[in-house]
Subunit: 435 residues, 2 copies
């Protein structure tokens, strides 16, 4: 069993000036090899690096350190590694030559400081840096009698800049790991679930799935939705699980793995040759903004109307002023008129509309803050739903846009007229459990 | 000397499915109190949390744990804290009532699972969760004879979802820390600078400011802009510095501290009694979306037009088809016509327009990906600028929307007709130094 620890060094990470993207990259890459990061530590530049490396080597069989390989005085990772594994640092001619060439091409000479980057701990394997000066290093620490394929401990040192670390990882680290480490490949599957709470998903699924196989369960909750993840070395078990999960959650599953709701909607629209228009009041352009984040969406989204004022609802979308005065801007008739108006005026296959009270002000007893009416219109007809999203303004907009995109997704599948309270015609256990 | 450790829990972080944004947020907030994070650890859900908490409490005086407070089986942070500090968990009626109300308003009952969130370790202080179900907790572990203002160890448990953690931090954790921890107060001042690079800002300011006072400098670069921060215990020195900074950067400074560009535009529009319309092609609704993120923006934004297709540019904004055929959709005349059309049709004081090539496809030799034309129109006239933003699709949209909002900000100050290449009429050193 290989245990993995990632040590990210750099005071800027602990001051909140830079976000750590190395962990995610390394974790996703290691997962391809069936390896999991068991622990990650961030320490400032300087002596704390030594402590973290020494703890890491005691605890984990694979320790990956990022940063602190540069030429400056606070770049001490290389020295600490040599010290901890008791390997003297020696000037590596090959590295020095590469360094001299690299700097020479840019019109620089090699100073004593930069020369430090050519120092390699005895027995260390150099990972060439094709995009910078500081090479990476692999050091293995093996006890007598360890099986040849499995060193006792592996220490990998990588440069801090992402544009240097990533290519070095792909070109040199991955092949090294594939040849040197024996691993059990793990598989995972993630279902993205819209409109069902985290605990509800657990109630619905865990029992049935535990009977099926000893899965590792994972949940990642976001506003109004949750990612449900299963992990197992048994690919076939995951395939069997998929049938169970889909049987229970059905249409509440809007995507798998990393795909976003807007990517699903654009992909399905392109496949079906459909076009879309948006009519937004409370979401203020977020729906069209999300759709247009997807490359190729220009083939799908024809027009978006951000009709924030009543006047513009009438002027841009032809909403009957009588509807606005009788029912108010946040009402079912207005949401439907907005969707139908947008579809008619833009001449698209589908149109979706959202009108609600984002808050913090503007609520009433009858229509409290968080109330939103959404409608989707297509050639089969118009479907409208009411939701109450009690949260902050921006999250309200995000959740409302997610429901709107989900209405488009389901209309593309069933036709708007066949939806029931914003869901596929056949209510599932998950749906039935909703308010 | 208070040592701080942040423990982020969640397998999704170590699987690389979610990027850790909590560390940066907490680090920046603690900095306001003169505290720095000495160490950060990420551990998966489950037993590893206990180990990390126990190590953290041994090593640091303030330990902040995020995540693992939810209702599901892998939410164990609360239980481990109770176990480590030897405080029995008791059902907290106040929390249970709040939980019941919260779920009741959403039409849910309280299941046995969700009830776990109402369990509070004896002596723990509850941090209310105004945006979710799981409350936070503060636990202090004091040895006999510790000074009352400074507990030996402070353990703070916070929920994982950012939209729950951030308001809880601001509303409840910061006041708690201010009252309970003794700290040297540091003052800081941050100027948000648009359209001037980080190194250019450094060239322009650092020398002059070093002569003024021994400040600590901070930079936080974002696409197309940078936050310049000065830190000092001497409030008066910061006030003197402000005059120097504003003298040099002038209109390139769009805000101070945390205020966003959209907040500035809405605030200034409300103050001036002006209204706004948006005409968006490449930004796809991002400009209106950002404006409508600001509470009270409904008084300002009257209408937004997302005219993605040429047809909709003509139909919605009355752009002359001849302009589109002669100059193409991404051109100065079309940008100007979009802004003027939006202003005329919506009858607003100002309108801003953006048309460009977000990519990854659609570029040409003459108009490469990243090319964008922006225009702002008001009663004084119309001003248009061209920018080349070579980056990924979403960053392109973000940067283009930032330039568009900046055009609104400067038009509100000078009038569109008096702008020079998207800047105030009087070019500053910073502006003059721009490409």
């Amino acid at each position: 069993m290989i245990t993995v620890e990632v040590i990210n060094t750099g005071s800027e990470l602990l001051l909140g000036q830079v976000t750590n993207t190395h962990l995610g990259f390394i974790a996703r890459e290691l997962f391809k090899l069936g390896l999991r990061v068991d622990r990650q530590v961030t320490v400032p530049d300087g002596a704390a690096i030594r402590g973290a490396m020494s703890e890491g080597l005691a605890r984990s069989s694979l320790v990956i350190v990022t940063g602190g390989l540069g030429p400056t005085s606070d770049d001490l990772t290389r020295d600490f590694a040599a010290e901890l594994l008791e390997r003297p640092l020696r000037l590596n001619q090959a590295v020095l030559t590469k360094l001299t060439d690299y700097l020479g091409r840019r019109g620089y000479g090699v100073s004593e400081l930069t020369k430090r980057q050519a120092m390699v701990p005895e027995g260390g394997e150099v990972l060439p840096n094709d995009y910078g000066t500081a090479p990476g290093l692999v050091m293995t620490h093996r006890n007598v009698g360890d099986p040849p394929h499995m060193p006792d401990h592996v220490l990998i040192l990588l440069p801090g800049p992402p544009r240097e670390l990533k290519p070095m990882w792909t070109t040199y680290v991955m092949p090294w790991l594939r040849t040197h480490l024996e691993m059990q490949v793990m598989h995972q599957r993630t279902w993205r679930v819209q409109g069902v709470g985290e605990s509800r998903v657990q109630e619905l699924l865990e029992q049935a799935l535990r009977e099926l196989h000893d899965f590792e369960f994972g949940y990642c909750a976001r506003p109004g939705e949750v990612d449900f993840r299963l992990i197992s070395p048994d690919q076939a078990a995951l395939t069997r699980a998929d049938a169970v999960v889909r049987g229970i959650l059905a249409d509440a599953i809007y995507a798998e793995d990393e795909e976003s709701m807007e990517q699903v909607v654009v992909r399905q629209s392109v496949a079906a040759g459909k076009t879309i228009a948006t009519a937004e009041s409370c979401t203020g352009g977020l729906i069209s903004n999300r759709l247009t984040n997807v490359p190729g969406s220009s083939a799908v989204l024809q027009a978006g109307y951000v009709t924030y004022s009543n006047t513009s609802k009438t002027r841009e979308l032809g909403v009957n002023p009588a509807l606005l005065t009788t029912h108010g801007a946040v009402s079912e008739p207005v949401a439907r008129a907005m969707a139908e108006g947008a579809r008619r005026l833009a001449g698209t296959s589908l149109a979706v509309a959202a009108t609600g009270i984002a808050g913090p002000d503007g609520g009433s007893a009858e229509k409290p803050v968080g109330t939103v009416w959404l409608a989707v219109a297509d050639e089969t007809g118009t479907h409208s739903v009411r939701r109450k999203l009690s949260t902050d303004r921006e999250t309200f907009k995000l959740m409302a846009s997610q429901v709107a995109l989900d209405l488009l997704r389901l209309s593309l599948k069933y036709g708007a007229a066949r939806l029931v309270d914003g869901h596929g015609a056949a209510p599932t256990a998950a749906v039935a459990g909703r308010p």
